[in-house]
């Protein structure tokens, strides 16, 4: 819903203080993260973003979303403050159906819907699938995964803390849909990691 109240505007926190350079730097980080899956790329988060929207997820969505892209949020992010902040800084229309989302923000990973509930694209236009921005606790600790596929020389091992317990199964099912399927951007406390639909993943027990 459009914000009609000036009261909201009075409470909106600023976004990037230097929109051009910060959004370009964030875009570069996301681009590299998706080009070299499993690599960690530093992102200068937006500290003033309303909680529980993480600063890094806020920087990513402020960079990628605009008035022509739809954004879906999980239940924890459905606050009026976040609604107002996203409307002001991205202009992106909010959607309640994940299948209509160009981007999805997931803050509480156990609540993350099945990936197949998001837009998966079509064989003709695989680019119309959802890009998921999933908040995680960090990298370099937690569960281990082995990755392979385009952008990875052989295999690569990564550790991710706070990801959904069944991440490997979810992404394997997603990989089977290729060229359709979602792309995943993991937003840590200070960095992002990309797990695009092309990446094969298995959990290291």
């Amino acid at each position: 819903m459009a914000l009609t109240s000036a009261a909201f505007a009075a409470t909106i926190a600023p976004g990037f203080h230097d929109p051009v350079f910060q959004s370009q730097a964030t875009f570069r980080a996301v681009l590299e993260a998706l080009a070299e899956p499993g690599g960690e790329r530093a992102v200068d988060g937006i500290a003033t973003a309303p909680a529980p929207l993480s600063p890094v997820a806020a920087a990513v969505i402020a960079t990628l979303a605009d008035f022509e892209t739809t954004v879906w949020r999980d239940a924890a992010l459905l606050t009026p403050e976040i609604e107002a902040w996203l409307a002001f800084h991205t202009g992106a229309p909010a959607v309640l159906d994940p299948a209509h989302a160009a981007f999805a923000l997931v803050s509480a990973s156990p609540d993350c819907p099945d990936f197949a509930e998001f837009a998966l694209g079509t064989d003709v236009d695989p680019s119309t699938s959802t890009t998921l921005i999933l908040r995680v606790d960090g990298f370099g600790e937690g569960r281990g995964f082995r990755l392979a596929g385009p952008g990875i020389d052989g295999t690569r091992e990564v550790t991710i803390a706070g990801a959904p317990a069944d991440l490997a199964e979810r992404l394997t099912a997603n990989r089977a849909l290729f060229p359709r399927g979602i792309d995943l951007i993991l937003a840590g406390p200070t960095s992002v990691m990309g797990l695009p639909r092309t990446t094969h993943i298995e959990e290291i027990r």
Binding site: A2, L3, T4, S5, F8, A9, F67, A87, F88, G91
Partner: protein, 377 residues
Amino acid sequence: MYVSVKGGEKAIRAAHRLLAHRRRGDRAVPEVAADQIREQLTLAVDRVMNEGSLYDRDLAALAIKQARGDLIEAAFLVRAYRTTLPRFGCSTPLDTAAMSVDRRISATYKDLPGGQILGPTFDYTHRLIDFALMADSETPLPEREREPGPAAASAMPRVTDLLGDEGLIEAEPAAADGAEPGDLTRAPLRVPAARDLRLQQLARGDEGFLLALGYSTQRGYGSTHPFAGEIRIGEVEVEFEVPELGFVVPLGSVALSECQMINQFAGSAEIEPTFTRGYGLAFGQVERKVMAMALVDRALRTEELGGEATHPAQDQEFVLSHADNVQATGFVEHLKLPHYVDFQAELALVRQLRREHTAARAARDAQSDDVYEEAAQ
């Protein structure tokens, strides 16, 4: 076969320097400023805004200066610039009925409400070169009407609305609820294209191409029996919905030209005889462009009005694929880029074909010599 195509950096740098030098011209002559181009070469600026598909007078003027007056190159520069900017949204549809007019004429009604207003037109000039412009002469101020009367748009109904009130011209259907117009800058243009997309492509299309196509319809390649129902040129207010404000904000005004072409239509089994429309709308004062656009718009409607598209101006694929001069110049001019490898292959092929041709002819000659000799014996 491998042919090296690297190198030439030094030559390119020098070519840029030479280009800048030639652009400057004789340094004894004062340099032209972008604001002089904006104010005094206004119609060139208007053309570049349309073909560059970006309303920004200062930018178009600067592009004209940078391009040494090559208007297609200038449009190319403007197009490239626009790709660097984010899009904030869309305006509410511009209301040309509420235009503050500079010019408004009709070829169909002499005494139309609001009158015929000539505005700043070349129409009645004698096309004699004015050598007075070579001197620093004072340009006289324009005349002013003491009692101008209301310029309000309500005093100037559209000619097509006058015909519409009598039901003599087809109505323009409104969009289906919530239907967003197509945007060829977001999704590739595919034919057949709906009229919204066709008009978008024509508005950014090359004026010369549209002029030639419009002319072809008049010369019998798909005649539409057109009348210039109304041409209006002037300023229209732009409004933009700001979601976070929840209301529509004014952005200022833009100059537009609009042409309503009225065309005869004999009707069909289902449709009564009526007038049909061709429509032209573009940035700035571009009367020729919007007239040609309206002719081509109507020609492209041939099939939807039950006709058969047999002429170039009626052929969507032909018109829409070739209207954009930035695309056209890119493809034509790419031919000067290195094709060394392709050409080496062609060269080898032609040499081989010639060898075979020579051998075949020799064999044929030898055979006919044999025949001759046999006959002689």
